[in-house]
């Protein structure tokens, strides 16, 4: 046996939710806190936190409106009391990020609570904590992600206040004595076992996007083996950081002591796999990448059968698109457009572009960029003169595709799409006579996987019978279904869900420790 360490509360994971938990533990006066992280730096989505957050104002009207949107969004399968607490915690964000962590918010967009959940595009139909409050666009350092800077500042602040962080020191097992959790087993960089004793444990270790085998075992991925490789490191489909070390350690540890197992899914940000080449999703404002920009557009999507499957106006609503891709054969779809559409975008993007958050640069050199990727071995994009060639190269059913394109083009002519109700403004007919046909294969990319564990309204992790496990709390991606319903709808919990469930776990664990 290696060394033994004793703490009041141990937090497993230093991502967004783990930081929220540690913040609240300190605020509640807990003094002997340790955060254990597998990655050598702050983990989870810290490396790719966004430049904005959503906060529901602490007024009865706003709180009720947000609660109702999220409850409906969960199809009333979420824990409704948990939802109301999460919404309330989000009202603290401006104080934490702007006042305590000194992050500037150059743009703040107050929202009318009556409009929560109704914003078109990025959030419509998937009110995943992005459309239930005021938006704060915050200023990072240099070209960086503002919330990443905020979370680094939070860690440094917590370290000054006595919180101990142990990097490259993953927790692998949870120790339960009788009915309650009393500790955990961690491993140092050399693989030596460390026995951790604690009064409460908060599991906030994210998902398992770094563990292909677990993703297959848990039914998160159900694709032909030839497509599995796109979920490995080199393909950049897992956009946050492919080496995130999020390997499902938390879920496995909790399950092994009798924790409730809930369905797991992939969270969503549609991506064209591009082996070995970062396509710019991490920093779209730095590298306005033609391929990423194009895949935001509301043009024709089909599946392997050549059939449409969604109103393509949802194109820049990433979670909706990812959910739709996941529902297709081999969990992916194809985007198809012609030379006329490319030319139109090269000439007048201001009127036509739909771009992720920012307006992109004018579309230029798309074909050259595709050719460069293809020359490096990319098999997920192509351009040919004919639909036949595209279908054959990409493995799309040609008859189905041609039938779909005929119907799609007719919808453009008629100004009415009876099948998917896409506005005629957004239909981009696909015609060989334009001179060229382009195609991308698109997968649901991911910040992480979601789900696996269930918490109650106090952040307590539940056992297989739905009873809280004493002294054990959970937060973040792994408990997303507790808010958004199970299986959760591919909606990443964002800072809204992750930070808040962490804060709840921190408050509850602090209260528990004080009562011991």
């Amino acid at each position: 046996m290696g060394k033994t360490m004793t703490f009041d509360v141990v937090v497993m994971g230093s991502g967004v939710s783990g930081m929220g938990a540690a913040y609240k533990l300190v605020q509640n006066g807990v003094t002997n806190i340790a955060v254990f992280e597998k990655y050598p730096a702050q983990g989870g989505a810290v490396s790719n936190c966004p430049m904005c957050f959503c906060s529901t104002p602490d007024t009865p009207e706003a709180q009720k409106a947000a609660y109702e949107v999220l409850a409906r969004f969960s199809n009333y399968g979420g824990n409704m009391n948990l939802i109301s607490k999460v919404v309330k915690y989000s009202s603290e964000f401006p104080r934490i990020f702007l006042e305590e962590l000194k992050i500037e918010a150059p743009f703040v967009f107050p929202r009318d609570p009556a409009d929560y959940g109704n914003m078109r595009g990025y959030t419509q139909g998937h009110a995943n904590g992005l459309d239930v409050g005021d938006y704060y666009f915050i200023q990072g350092r240099g070209q960086g992600h503002a919330l990443s800077l905020a979370l680094l500042r939070l860690r440094l602040k917590l370290e000054k206040e006595g919180v101990q962080f142990f990097f490259q020191t993953p927790i692998k097992k949870i120790v339960k004595t009788g009915d309650k959790v009393t500790g955990a087993i961690a491993y140092d960089k050399e693989g030596n076992e460390i026995e951790l004793k604690c009064k409460a444990l908060i599991v906030a270790s994210g998902g398992c996007s770094g563990n292909l085998e677990m993703m297959k075992e848990e039914g998160i991925l159900h694709v032909d083996p030839k497509f599995e490789e796109v979920y490995t490191d080199g393909y950049q489909v897992m956009i946050t950081f492919p080496d995130s070390c999020q390997d499902g350690d938390g879920q496995k540890a909790v399950w092994s002591i009798g924790g409730m197992k809930t369905p797991m899914v992939i969270s969503g940000d549609p991506e064209v796999p591009n082996p070995g080449v970062r396509l710019g999703p991490n920093t779209p404002w730095l590298t306005p990448n033609q391929i990423k920009v194009v895949t935001e557009q509301p043009w024709l999507r089909v599946n392997e059968q050549g059939k449409r499957f969604i109103n393509e106006e949802m194109s820049n609503q990433h979670t909706a698109m990812s959910r739709a891709y996941c529902a297709q054969t081999n969990m992916h779809g194809y985007m198809i457009f012609d030379e006329t559409t490319v030319k139109r975008m090269e000439e007048a993007f201001e009127e036509n572009y739909v771009y992720f958050i920012f307006k992109g640069a004018k579309l230029t050199g798309l074909r050259e960029q595709m050719d460069a990727a293809i020359a490096k071995g990319n098999k997920h994009m192509c351009h040919f003169n004919t639909i036949h060639e595209v279908a054959e190269y990409m493995g799309i059913d040609e008859a189905g595709l041609k039938e779909t394109i005929a119907k799609y083009n007719k919808a453009a002519e008629d100004g009415y799409d009876p099948e998917f109700h896409t506005s005629a403004d957004y239909i981009a007919p696909v015609k060989e006579e334009s001179g060229h046909i382009y195609c991308f294969r698109i997968f649901a990319g991911s910040y992480d996987t979601l789900g696996g564990l269930q918490i109650n309204e106090n952040g307590n992790l539940l056992d297989v019978n739905g009873n809280p496990i004493e002294a054990l709390y959970g937060a973040g991606d792994m408990v997303a279904g507790s808010i958004y319903g199970n299986p959760t709808s591919n909606a990443g919990p964002t800072v809204f869900g992750s930070m808040t469930t962490g804060m709840l776990a921190g408050d509850s664990a602090a209260a528990y420790v004080k009562s011991c």
Partner: protein, 64 residues
């Protein structure tokens, strides 16, 4: 001129590589950012200075 990365601050976001692949490369095996040169060539001096300014968390330091 040398580039030093403070690994206590670095969050491995890779913005440095996105902007200046001539100077930085993410190392997925070691979970860190590799600087491609011990001594920064003179032709990349300006990019190196800019990378320090652009870093999300002030982890890049230029040592002359």
């Amino acid at each position: 001129m040398r580039i030093e990365i403070n690994n206590n601050y670095c969050i491995r976001c890779g913005i440095c590589e996105d902007e200046f692949p001539c100077l930085f490369k993410r190392n997925y095996d070691e979970h860190c950012i590799d600087v491609l040169y011990d001594e920064i060539p003179a032709e990349y001096a300006e990019q190196a200075e800019q990378s320090a300014k652009d870093c999300a968390v002030a982890a890049i330091k230029i040592v002359k």
